[in-house]
C-alpha cells in the first residue's frame, strides 16, 4: 500500500461513520414524513419504510463488521 502520511483505513472508517450517521438521519426524516403526511391506515407506505430501514441497517452492520475485522 502507498504511504499517504495518514492512515487510509482510519480515513475510510471516519468516512463510513459519516455516511452511516448522515444516511441514518436522512432516513429518519423521510420516515417521519411517511408517518406524518401519509394516508391513515396506509400499510404499503409503512412496508416501504420498514424495508428501506432494514436494508440500510444490514448494509451498515456489514460495513461495521468490515471495519471491526480489518482495523481492530
Amino acid at each position: 500500500m502507498v504511504n499517504l502520511g495518514i492512515s487510509l483505513p482510519i480515513i475510510l472508517s471516519i468516512l463510513f461513520l459519516l455516511v452511516f450517521m448522515g444516511g441514518g438521519i436522512f432516513l429518519w426524516v423521510l420516515s417521519y414524513h411517511f408517518k406524518k403526511f401519509g394516508l391513515p391506515g396506509d400499510k404499503r407506505g409503512r412496508w416501504f419504510v420498514s424495508t428501506y430501514v432494514l436494508l440500510y441497517l444490514l448494509l451498515s452492520i456489514f460495513g461495521l463488521l468490515i471495519i471491526y475485522t480489518f482495523i481492530f
Binding site: L12, G23, F26, G38, Y52, Y56, L59, I67
Partner: protein, 169 residues
C-alpha cells in the same frame, strides 16, 4: 394526516403520479447500482493502480458506502412519488406536495371555483401508458391547479365534472 376532511365530505379519488415516471427514476438508480461495481471490479482485475492504492476490504467498504447512498437516493425518489397525493372529494380538490425536507405544500380548491378542466397527454410513453397532465382553471386571478403525470387523466376529468355537476344541483 396531511389534510382534514370536512364533516360529510366524501373522498372520491386518491391519486399519485403514474408509476412509469418513478420507474424511469428507479431504472437509472438500478443502472448505477450495477455499473459502478462492475467498473470497480474491472479496474481491480485490469489496472495495477487500484490494488496498489486499496486493499480488497477497503474496496468492499467503499462499495458498502456507495450502496448506502444509492439506497438513500432511491428512498428520496420513492418518498417524492408516494407522498405527493391528489385527492378529489365531493366538495373540493386537494393537492399535497413534498417540495423538499420540511417544505410541504397543501393546496385545496372548492369545486365551485372550477371554470375549465384541460387534459394534455404529451409524448410516446404518456400515450402508451395513458398518463398526462390535468390543468384546472379557476375563476379570478388564482394560479392554475395542475395534476402532473396523472394516470387515466380523462377518467379523472370526468369524475371531477360529475362531482361538480352534483355540487351544482
Amino acid at each position: 394526516m396531511a389534510f382534514q376532511l370536512r364533516p360529510s365530505e366524501k373522498v372520491l379519488l386518491i391519486q399519485r403520479r403514474h408509476w412509469f415516471t418513478v420507474f424511469v427514476e428507479f431504472l437509472w438508480i438500478a443502472l448505477l447500482a450495477i455499473l459502478v461495481p462492475l467498473v470497480v471490479f474491472w479496474l481491480q482485475i485490469s489496472s495495477e493502480i487500484l490494488p496498489v492504492l486499496f486493499d480488497e476490504w477497503m474496496i468492499v467498504l467503499l462499495l458498502v458506502m456507495y450502496y448506502q447512498l444509492i439506497l438513500i437516493i432511491s428512498f428520496t425518489f420513492l418518498a417524492d412519488y408516494y407522498l405527493d397525493i391528489w385527492v378529489v372529494t365531493d366538495q373540493r380538490l386537494i393537492r399535497i406536495e413534498l417540495r423538499g425536507f420540511f417544505n410541504r405544500l397543501v393546496t385545496t380548491m372548492n369545486l365551485n371555483r372550477i371554470q375549465d378542466v384541460k387534459v394534455s397527454t404529451k409524448g410516446f410513453f404518456a400515450t402508451l401508458f395513458t398518463y398526462g397532465d390535468i390543468k384546472i382553471q379557476t375563476a379570478g386571478t388564482e394560479a392554475e391547479f395542475v395534476f402532473f403525470h396523472t394516470p387515466k387523466p380523462q377518467e379523472t376529468k370526468n369524475l371531477i365534472y360529475k362531482a361538480l355537476n352534483r355540487r351544482v344541483k
